[in-house]
Symmetry: C2
Subunit: 123 residues, 2 copies
């Protein structure tokens, strides 16, 4: 798949809530990078660990109030997708945020994901 | 300035070729990050060093054949701008590339720039 095709598939799966399929676009040795200073691990290595981290994050959510997955912007072997979410988390309470999700593609798979957002101040 | 205002100013300056003004949007202690494996320093710290690195890069160019600065996509304290360039470099020859330029804003200044592009294979 081209970068464009991976981008369109990822966006379609996220919009449909098909997260397992979305993470199946990742390479086995993919890495995922959160913002420095955010709660949890900053760097997660390996598709299975990334999927487990996603599931753990999903379990921390009490209620989703809204959210959107924007259109991808593609440049060579990278694409970026604006996403937003408004959710109440079991421990931290409600958090509404916008983020830019950057993906690097190699051999038709996502080899690197990096998320850019405002790190919330912890109480 | 809001993130949106910084984004619009940066894009306008880049389109007009006003690079000194563009780099004046950076904070004194800003950092700039290139792709791992790209030629030159991967991380440059400080507005003056970043400006000097830009000037050095500009001097390495023999001829610019084309290029474009896309529209910014803003999310909270970040924005991303797609850019493309086709140039002949004095040492490396012609290189046409697309990149996604990610910026983090704090207190109305760019505190971090990170560039995402396909690292060229060196001959």
């Amino acid at each position: 798949m081209t970068t464009n095709e991976v981008a369109n598939k990822l966006v379609a799966y996220c919009r449909e809530g098909k997260y397992k399929e979305a993470y199946d676009l990742y390479a086995e040795d993919a890495i995922s990078i959160e913002m420095e200073g955010a709660p949890g691990e900053q760097i997660t290595k390996g598709k299975e660990n990334i999927w487990n981290a996603y599931q753990q994050w999903e379990e921390s959510i009490e209620e989703i109030h809204g959210g959107a997955v924007g259109n991808p912007v593609v440049a060579a072997n990278h694409f970026v997708v604006p996403m937003s979410m408004d959710a109440t988390f079991k421990e931290q309470g409600r958090w509404a945020f916008d983020e830019l999700c950057m993906y690097e593609v190699a051999d038709g798979k996502i080899k690197k994901a990096q998320y850019f957002y405002e790190v919330p101040e912890m109480g």
